[in-house]
């Protein structure tokens, strides 16, 4: 066996080089963000959900295009007296009412079991036969439901996303301040959270929403009219702050005890720097997941508030107001309420699935078979 002449023939560098050449890889350190990103990339379902969400957003953003080119009308334009060409026949947008059988819409004798008095019947969905007009039918004012659906989507998405952003930002700030400073500041902020947990969230939203719907919001130098969609946006962003703030505060509290914070303080870092450069990145993954799920929640909350009349105010369309509009006609024209509901379900489902995938990517745990 040949022997090395001296110890120094093989240094660390040559040894490492040898290792690389032979394919003996060193264990490479990877940042948790990179690993999370890689896991997310592999989750086809979550990515598909994200794509679905973006498609819905784009479709709603293109509402004016649809209104102009396809449906040839606007979201608030009434057409009570118009007629539409459906497969050759001219059908009234709003047909005569009277006593009609609630299922067949044929005239019936009063007093019959399914006989109800209808004031007017809007046209049902024309789907592909109406030349793009009233694809989903008309509502009781003769407005094109498909157009309103898209415009309503813009409103619902706007309220949902913006309110979530405001909510999460305020929650982060409160959580960081409470968790970092502790003491009486923490006490006050926690009491603030507790207070709003004692309110059923929907009640609070309705209370605030309807209170502000009367005259708008004219305090603190802000002047917002009662019909503005900023009212429901602000209301909804406010309602969920404790739900995000409390868990974040808990996280900040446990991070606060870790040595790297102590180290930063002893290096003379200012509280602001510690909060935003040290603590914030460590709660970032929670924040991301929260943000996605809160958007989903807020879209539903907006729909609920608008349905009850405490959210978006008519004539502005939102998915919630559309459901409310269609409720009375649900038996004869179910699509008026079904369509916006389905839109909500798809959007919220997409966000929930993606949020799930995001959470799994950032913090995996399930026992799943690895394909080879």
């Amino acid at each position: 066996m040949a022997q090395p002449a001296t110890e120094s023939e093989f240094t660390l560098d040559t040894a490492a080089e040898l290792a690389r050449e032979e394919g003996g890889h060193e264990i490479r350190g990877r940042s948790p963000w990179f690993l999370a990103w890689r896991r997310l990339r592999r989750n086809k379902i979550a990515l598909a959900a994200l794509l679905l969400f973006f498609l819905i957003v784009i479709a709603c953003l293109l509402a004016p295009v649809y209104a102009h080119r396809v449906a040839d009308t606007g979201p608030n334009a009434n057409h009570p007296l118009d007629k539409v060409n459906v497969n050759g026949t001219q059908v009234s947008v709003l047909s005569q009412g009277g006593y009609l059988n609630k299922k067949t819409l044929q005239p019936c004798s009063t007093g019959g079991n399914d006989c109800k008095l209808f004031s007017s019947i809007p046209i049902g969905p024309t789907w592909v036969s109406g030349g793009g007009h009233f694809v989903l039918g008309a509502d009781s004012n003769g407005r094109d439901v498909a157009v309103r659906l898209l415009y309503g989507g813009r409103v619902s998405l706007f309220v949902g996303v913006i309110s979530s952003a405001i909510c999460v930002i305020l929650a982060i700030v409160l959580a960081l301040v409470a968790g970092y400073f502790g003491g009486w500041i923490d006490f006050v902020i926690t009491r603030f959270f507790d207070l709003f947990f004692a309110f059923p969230a929907v009640l609070l939203g309705i209370a605030l929403g309807s209170a502000l719907a009367i005259n708008g919001f004219h305090h603190f130098g802000l002047n917002i009219g009662s019909g503005s969609i900023w009212i429901p946006t602000l209301v909804i962003s406010y309602v969920l702050i404790p739900y995000v703030g409390r868990p974040l505060r808990g996280q900040v509290l446990s991070l606060r005890e870790k040595e790297f914070i102590e180290a930063a303080i002893s290096q003379g870092a200012s509280p602001l720097r510690i909060m935003f450069s040290e603590l914030l990145p460590n709660v970032a993954s929670s924040v991301l997941v929260f943000f996605t799920l809160i958007i989903a929640n807020n879209i539903v909350l907006e729909a609920a508030l608008s349905f009850l009349g405490a959210g978006v105010q008519p004539p502005t369309a939102s998915w919630g107001t559309l459901i409310s509009d269609g409720e009375t006609l649900i038996v004869t024209r179910p699509w008026l309420s079904l369509a916006p509901g389905i839109a909500i379900v798809l959007t919220v489902l997409a966000l929930n699935v993606f949020g799930d995938g995001l959470r799994d990517a950032l913090d995996p745990r399930a026992k799943v078979r690895v394909e080879h």
């Binding site: 022997q3 110890e7 093989f10 660390l12 040894a15 490492a16 032979e22």
Partner: protein, 342 residues
Amino acid sequence: MAERLLDVEDLAVHFATEDGLVRAVDGVSFGLDRGQVLGIVGESGSGKSVTAMTLMGLTRGVNAKFEGAVRYQGKDLLQISDREMQDYRGNEIGMIFQDPMTSLNPVYRVGEQIVEAIRAHDHVDRRRARRRAVELLKQVGIPNPESRVDDFPHQFSGGMRQRAMIAMALSCNPAILIADEPTTALDVTIQAQIIELIGRLKDDFDSAVIMITHDLGVVADIADEIMVMYAGRVVERGATRDVFYDPQMPYTWGLLGSIPRLDRPRPERLYSIKGTPPSLINAPRGCKFRPRCPHAFDKCMEEPKLEQRVETAGHLDRCWLDVTFKREHRDAMIAGESTEAA
């Protein structure tokens, strides 16, 4: 003639992961006799814990593949069903783990958990089992066992918790006790007590012990035989005396060198092995330690077999270096670096 309890033949454990096939254990063989203490030593990632857990069947899972055999009193434990394996766990082979705080269920009393272990295999009534639990707690040195038996884990100190775990593991009189880094989470003074306790109980219960650690100092006193593992393989094995006084693997020299010694002149700096452990997915060709070995030469490109290269029977190693060369050059690593130039 000591009774042979365990025969591990060419055990290999592979895990399928996102990054590839991890060869955590790659060809490990050893035997264990009744009353014997085997120390398995290695750093993180050497495969020592996986080997131990495989003996208990705790590594069975969707992504795990096994090769070789683990014969306990003749029966190959790798081949039996999960249901049959249950009968062996706790009953024939007991195990204690590294962190006693998280290894005990925080919502149940300590006594309850010991009773649960007893009643899993012995069909005694609760009162009898509880009496046994109290007796066990006394044996492991817990004061006031009659009242302590009703305490919750968080009411015990770290050392006491580990004693309770030992009591629980020995409750069904297993023939083998596996201790996976039992002292790593404890203070140094408590470490000594726990090691001494294990040594004493081994005789009381007539069990064999497998002690797993990364710290050679922990097994120096108590082990009869030492097995050094690296990158999923056994790289040196022999009687404790032989491994400590005539170590044959440069890796073992590194391990010995990293222990501060009171009986030797103090070095300027303790020896630390350069580099990091190899990937278990893409291991280097040839000897797995070669990239970090200061004495590696061209023959090391071919992996050495685990063989006896010294005069003493039963002392095996995986190193091509000439024995005389080793005996001359190893002190540099073991004694540490001094101010004089090498």
